[in-house]
């Protein structure tokens, strides 16, 4: 035992009382990652999230493809939220290439991105339901999600990976008669998600399970660098649609929901309120949108940036701020592309929140962080 250990390795003292649980990667409550949990009886002593099982090298891949062929693979990290995942990249490329986007395309983008936000949150909510053992709350959002998926299919032709945003606008114009169909579906969707409160958010068992668990204070939320629904559930009113409005968000009336409690319940309710707000934004955008006009600027083949240049754009995705830093050196491919994702920022809070919690709170705290493992690994 006197032999010196290689750097980076340390011998851990094993306590008889402590049991180490590998929650994942093959576990119904972990997603595509592993959480190493140490428990003493029913209490969690330490928690070590271990992501990286679905790393796909999106950033490196982007260096070998030109600005147009990067589109389909950059939306892969979050296929339910593909419009929002592409949004910062498209905004950045437009600034690099100096393209002015038509007004109608901007509104179409806003509609698509809000629809996609709802689609993502419904999926997230379904999994939150099954994590809490509420199988009805798995099936209802998974079914009602279809309404919006059908709308996105009408717009882009694909049900999940739309690849609809391109530098210079959107790929296609809206189909004829879209406004009425969209308004009808969104109204029904809004009515339907209000019903979830009765079975889910006002359920006394759910409230007693999630309230006052995994409390993240306002200061800690800022210090740990969380974003999106986690930050807004801790009482920080920070939404990029309001703070740094991109495209036409400044012309729309956005009221991002904020709650003060910072517990799992607040974190699980904020996305639901987000969906109601998204419905509101879609209706406004449908009203203000120019009824006709071009939706896409014709690009030259293999567009190039102007010399050494870099741009950083970020948008509010379903999981918080999603940034994209593109460095160009005047070639047809980007020199470097870096994605800064909300999921990974929110995951940082997990060890702090789970310490001292009961094992039964692990799924509710973990999934309330609005974390998507594939996006965090990129």
């Amino acid at each position: 035992m006197t032999a010196e250990l290689p750097p980076g390795l340390a011998i851990q003292k094993v306590d008889e009382r402590i049991m180490t649980l590998n929650v994942g990667p093959q576990h119904p409550g972990s997603g595509h990652m592993r959480i190493i949990v140490q428990i003493d009886g029913d209490y969690i002593v330490a928690c070590d999230p271990d992501p990286g099982y679905v790393h796909r090298g999106e950033e490196k891949m982007a260096e070998y493809r030109n600005y147009i062929t990067n589109i389909p693979h950059l939306e892969r990290p979050v296929i339910h939220d593909s419009c929002n995942a592409l949004y910062p990249y498209v905004l950045g490329v437009e600034e690099l290439l100096g393209i002015e986007v038509p007004e109608r395309a901007k509104y179409v983008r806003v509609i698509c991105s809000e629809l996609n936000r709802c689609i993502y949150i419904m999926y997230w909510l379904a999994i939150y339901g099954i994590f809490l053992g509420h199988s009805t709350m798995f099936m209802w959002p998974a079914g009602d999600r279809e309404l919006l998926i059908d709308l996105m299919e009408k717009i882009s032709g694909a049900r999940v990976t739309h690849a609809h945003f391109v530098p210079g606008g959107v790929r296609n114009d809206l189909p004829p008669n879209f406004e009425e169909v969209c308004l009808r579906q969104v109204n029904y969707f809004e009515k339907r998600i209000r019903e979830y409160a009765a079975v889910f958010y006002d359920n006394p068992i759910l409230i007693s399970r999630t309230q006052d668990t995994g409390v993240l204070s306002r200061e800690d939320a800022i210090r740990l660098g969380t974003t999106g629904s986690v930050l807004r559930a801790s009482g920080v009113s920070y939404d990029l649609r309001q703070k740094e409005p991109y495209d036409v968000y400044e012309e729309l009336d956005v009221h991002s929901p904020v709650m003060k409690e910072g517990d799992s319940y607040a974190r699980s309710k904020i996305p639901w309120l987000d969906m109601l707000e998204s419905c509101n934004i879609i209706k406004q955008a449908l009203q203000k949108m120019p009824k006709s006009g071009s939706v896409r600027v014709k690009l030259k083949p293999n567009p190039k940036g102007k010399g050494l240049d870099s741009v950083y754009k970020r948008v509010e995705s379903g999981r918080g701020s999603l940034g994209c830093h593109i460095v160009s050196d005047g070639k047809v491919e980007p020199y470097r592309l870096k994605l800064s994702v909300g999921s990974f920022r929110n995951l940082i809070a997990l060890p702090y929140l789970l310490k001292g919690e009961k094992l039964g709170n692990m799924p509710s705290v973990y999934w309330s962080l609005n974390y998507w493992p594939v996006e965090a690994d990129r």
Binding site: M19, L21, H27, P28, G29, D42, G129, I130, F131, L132, G133, H134, S135, T136, M137, F138, M139, W140, G143, V199, N203, I205, L206, S208, R209, K358, L359, G360, N361, M362, P363
Partner: protein, 437 residues
């Protein structure tokens, strides 16, 4: 059709059937028939209805099928029939299978789904048979470091405990497998056996998630047994007996739930916990501990535990019916059997239908009371099972500390309230000796 069997030929099919028949006859006549004869030579044949029962009588049954009726009657009064078929295992397993089907379809309707649909053409009615076949044909994997004898024995013991529970339930007047004077005490004893089997299975698997699940199951079952037993004391006080048949018979005018609603509510909640149903399914909480104490069970071992679980569900629902809802008592809705068929015969135009030998069977075994009692019992049990299944679609799972808090403080307190209500009713002379009963 050609997709299913592209090389199908009718002539080949008929030929294969004839081949099978020939082989069957050959093997039966060469081996089976001599074996039957040898067995008959050794075993003395029973005498039923003054008639020696020999296999050669079977040929006379072909000419007059009504001659089998005394044998049917004799068989239906044996203990073997009671254990295997009617009030015992077969009846309970049938209801349990129905429960699984209803649960899946009902939950599907609640969740805007279809549920099992394809297996068996009509609404997926054969899905359970398909699942059973799959479980039987799957490989059984035992963890390398498991304590193998105990790990093997635990599922079997679980089903055996559940079947023992079923045996104590009276279904109709006189129709109970084990009519014990201390019936309710026997029920408590059997219920106390489940946590032992659970922790044996969980601990012997030598794996972390089953261990945590087993500990949770132990906590849950032990802490909910106390309010369970206390909630039933009220019924014992007002009836003055522990015999389940007598308790059921004592409710001929009104069920005890009318006077002891608090006890019924406490018993229902503890029942959900003992059955590990949502919202109390902590021992199988999948998002925390995979499948809890069932994690390492594979193949038919898992199937046996599921069978035991649903038998237990039926038995608890039936116990609720017997203790609080009046068991087999209820309005007589089964019409009387047309006795003329057995005695004089019914004239159907030119012919007279008459089945001789039916009369003793109908007056002694399958009476109108027995049929009506069974029907009432099944209707009430199905109703209770429906309410046991319903929370699964409505509630999320609760947490261990909340569960223990509920069991040790609220439910035990309510159970004592129930006992005081029963005491007051007995002392006031409303119920019990000299009272309404």
């Amino acid at each position: 059709m050609s997709v299913i069997a592209p090389n199908f030929k009718l002539s080949g099919f008929i030929k294969s059937i004839i081949d099978d028949a020939v082989w069957f006859l050959l093997i039966f006549s060469l081996i089976g028939f001599p074996v039957v004869m040898m067995v008959l030579f050794v075993i003395p044949m029973p005498v039923i209805d003054g008639e020696l029962l020999t296999p050669f009588l079977a040929f006379t049954y072909l000419a007059d099928p009504t001659r089998t009726l005394p044998i049917v009657q004799a068989f239906m009064t044996t203990d073997m029939f009671k254990i295997m078929a009617f009030p015992g295992f077969g009846f309970a397993a049938l209801l349990a299978a129905g429960t699984i089907f209803v649960e899946r379809k009902m939950l599907a309707k609640l969740q805007l789904r279809v549920g099992p649909f394809y297996c068996g053409k009509v609404e997926g009615i054969l899905q359970l048979a398909g699942d059973g076949l799959k479980l039987i044909s799957k490989e059984i994997i035992i963890p390398a470091k498991a304590d193998k004898p105990i790990f093997w024995a635990a599922p079997v013991l679980f089903v055996a405990s559940a079947a023992a529970f079923v045996a104590l339930i009276p279904v109709a007047p006189g129709w109970v497998v084990a009519d014990v004077d201390m019936g309710l005490l026997a029920v408590f004893a059997v219920i106390g056996f489940f946590p032992i089997v659970t922790i044996l299975s969980a601990w012997s698997a030598n794996s972390k998630f089953p261990f945590i699940g087993g500990i949770r199951a132990l906590f849950q079952m032990v802490s909910f047994e106390i309010p369970l037993i206390l909630s039933l004391l009220g019924v014992v006080m007002v009836t003055g007996t522990l015999n389940l048949s007598e308790i059921a018979a004592s409710q001929s005018s009104f069920p005890w739930i009318v006077f002891l609603p608090v006890g019924a509510i406490v018993f229902f909640i503890t029942m959900l916990a003992e059955l590990e149903r949502i919202p109390f399914d902590l021992p199988e909480a999948e998002s925390e501990i995979v499948a809890g104490w069932l994690t390492e069970l594979s193949g038919m071992m898992y199937g046996l535990v599921q069978l035991g679980t649903y038998l237990k569900l039926y038995a608890f629902a039936a116990l609720f019916v017997v203790l609080f809802l009046g068991g087999w008592n209820g309005p007589m809705i089964v019409p009387p059997f047309p006795m003329e068929l057995a005695t004089e015969g019914i004239e159907l135009g030119p012919v007279t239908a008459k089945i001789g030998g039916l009369e003793p069977l109908l007056t002694e075994v399958i009476t109108q009371e027995m049929l009506n009692g069974t029907l009432m019992f099944v209707l009430k049990t199905v109703g209770v099972i429906f309410f046991i299944l319903l929370p699964r679609g409505v509630f999320p799972r609760i947490r261990v500390d909340m569960l223990l808090n509920l069991g040790w403080t609220k439910l035990i307190g309510l159970a004592f309230v129930n006992i005081f209500i029963a005491l007051a009713l007995v002392y006031a002379g409303v119920l019990g000796p000299g009272g309404l009963q």
